[in-house]
Symmetry: C2
Subunit: 382 residues, 2 copies
């Protein structure tokens, strides 16, 4: 049976959409949300707007925003405690992937019990989660629409990937205005994360016609709007399109899953406090070189979507242009080019390669891959 499945939350997208968070939560029958966020989001004022919106809707909210990049199991536990102490009945996540993934993880343990480790892998969640409203403020993770949550096991120093339809929030709110407060560095790295999502979803062996339309549109939007979005915090047109690209890439990878870039980047993120988007952006062109021969035709389409001139080229020549485009974009927007620039060395490669190979995202990579291949890719990216 070759069945395509597709699932997504209700989406509310547009400038000022963040003000609708309170009434959205209320509409789900919630009265006492736990708001999960982080310091960065709080500093620039978006958390305050969410709190006010909840007050206006008559909700009594508790707040937890002590969350780090690559969020940890003990942060989930701390959030769970606040949820139970305040007798919360719903969860609002506000931020990028870290805040939203933590919000989802808290939702799992408050209704399913145990520790977050119990739910690692695919379809391990039995009990329904409380109502979930997610407000995305980074145009990167796509977690606000996805069935994923990625949490670090602090003992094993390993990112746990949790996949379940239950993790698709009830409502996702995407307000492009929230992108205007991001630094150029964060805009660049999260933007390349979006491109990584879109490309990995598009070439995934689990891609379908439903995920392809989203992935392809996302690739084209990143190609057109990431450069100007990095260049100017005030370019609201570029922010709007990058927010849409993030959303569509999220819809694509949530349903088509990802590939070797994410599997390898999860292995790194479990050990080192590095930005997920930066690690992905370094790995992406190397993995594309490796995956190329599995799907040259799809690479040709990517090149075309990126505006590369492929006239009179063979499929193989045109496909390679996609890799060229990604390398040039990454240079133009000034993200790190090597893992060694980020402080990594070859000592960890053997161990991380095995962890990457075992990651859930590796299953949908379009080219067969061995531990030696992964080691080789890590070395190239150093």
């Amino acid at each position: 049976m070759n069945i395509n499945k597709f699932v997504m939350p209700e989406v509310i997208f547009g400038n000022d959409a963040i003000h609708l968070v309170g009434e959205s939560c209320f509409r789900l029958g919630a009265k006492r949300p736990l708001i999960v966020s982080d310091f960065g989001v709080s500093d620039v004022g978006w958390l305050e707007i969410v709190i006010q919106s909840c007050q206006k809707a008559g909700l009594h909210s508790a707040i937890y925003y002590d969350i780090t990049t690559n969020p940890k199991d003990y942060e989930v536990e701390a959030g769970q405690k606040i949820y139970l102490e305040h007798e919360c009945d719903s969860i609002i996540g506000v931020g990028g992937g870290s805040a939203i993934d933590t919000a989802k993880a808290i939702a799992i343990v408050v209704t399913n019990g145990g520790t977050i480790q119990d739910y690692e892998g695919v379809d391990e969640i039995d009990e329904p989660l409380p109502p979930l409203v997610m407000v995305a403020t980074t145009a990167g993770s796509g977690s606000e629409v996805s069935q994923f949550s990625v949490i670090v096991d602090s003992t094993r120093k390993k990112k746990m990937t949790i996949v379940s339809k239950s993790l698709v929030p009830d409502i996702a709110i995407i307000d492009p205005q929230t992108l205007t407060t991001k630094s150029p560095q964060l805009t660049a790295s999260t933007g390349l994360d979006v491109l990584t999502h879109a490309i990995e979803a598009y070439v995934s062996i689990a891609s379908t016609a439903l995920t392809d339309v989203q992935a392809k549109n996302a690739i084209s939007l990143v190609a057109n709007y990431l450069r100007p979005s990095v260049a100017s915090s005030l370019n609201t047109e570029a922010k709007h399109h990058m927010a849409m690209a993030s959303l569509q890439a999220g819809l694509a990878f949530s349903n088509a899953i990802l590939g070797a870039v994410h599997a390898m980047s999860h292995a790194i993120g479990g050990r080192f406090p590095l930005l997920h988007g930066e690690v992905n952006s370094v790995l992406l062109p190397h993995v594309m070189e490796f995956n190329f021969l599995a799907v040259p035709k799809k690479f040709m389409t990517i090149a075309e979507l990126c505006g590369e001139n492929i006239r009179n080229m063979t499929e193989v020549e045109a496909g390679r242009k996609a890799i060229h485009f990604v390398k040039q974009l990454s240079l133009d927007i000034g993200v790190p080019q090597r893992l060694s620039d980020m402080g990594l060395d070859d000592e960890m490669i053997a161990e991380m390669s095995q962890i990457a190979l075992d990651d859930a995202c590796m299953i949908t990579n379009p080219r067969d891959i061995t531990v030696t291949d992964v080691q080789h890719l890590f070395k190239q990216a150093l």
Copy 2:
């Protein structure tokens, strides 16, 4: 505030997907579904498969399939009675728009009380509906994913349009194999209904980036696969793509709403027992001629998606090619070309024009329209 909203059910798409209906309903916590279908679907055996799938999942189902084309208020009432008598807790719709719209309407009255008339218009439903699983067997209506239900008020002889997010089913199951039992006539008219959904959604004033990707892909699929699908009941590739086109057009119009074709076709369908798809296919090119000057650029894109050669043409010349394409397609697949071929005459035009003007679908038509315009369009189509 310019906010885009998008909502869709969980989708299960593929050959043999119909066998998943029982376990899908069970997964929603249901034990006693009411299965709503019609004689046509029963005759070709799909209803039996649904019943077996429910038995296999341990569900105790009641069955109601006494439904006509353009379903009536009293059919909703009859279904409500069966639901209550059998103490059902969920609803499964199996068929085209008639069965699925009736299934939704029954869902409204069993939890909200009153008669279906009480819910005409936008957002009139307060109480949550029972779990809804819809199995589409026509590749036409898109009702399996939409927030619409259209029911005839038998006293006023008028189609009531009911719009609410609550009407988006929990799970939509689309099995392209079910299309192999349709007659060429039904394949043709429902196929043009799909095209009408996609075009009206694409040019709607409520269209968004999220609906556009779906609408455009649907247009391109219809342009490529409707002819071969009409030509051969065994062309499974064409059926697959037409089922996907129907799904994507449904996602587009559910969120971008429709336009004058549907407003006028609802006015006709409230009075005459005609096939919705056939009426739409007659009206579509006339409404396109009328709407053209509102959105010439979008028409140009439609022409391009349909594979028309628009090289070296101005936007206006290229846009007109879209109308040309629709006329030619409609001739090729042999649908009626005039309303008079379907037994209508100009006696009813005045009254139907006012009803069409008041239809909820008219609000999103891209060109301003008066009752005189509608009369003129009806006359042209006679």
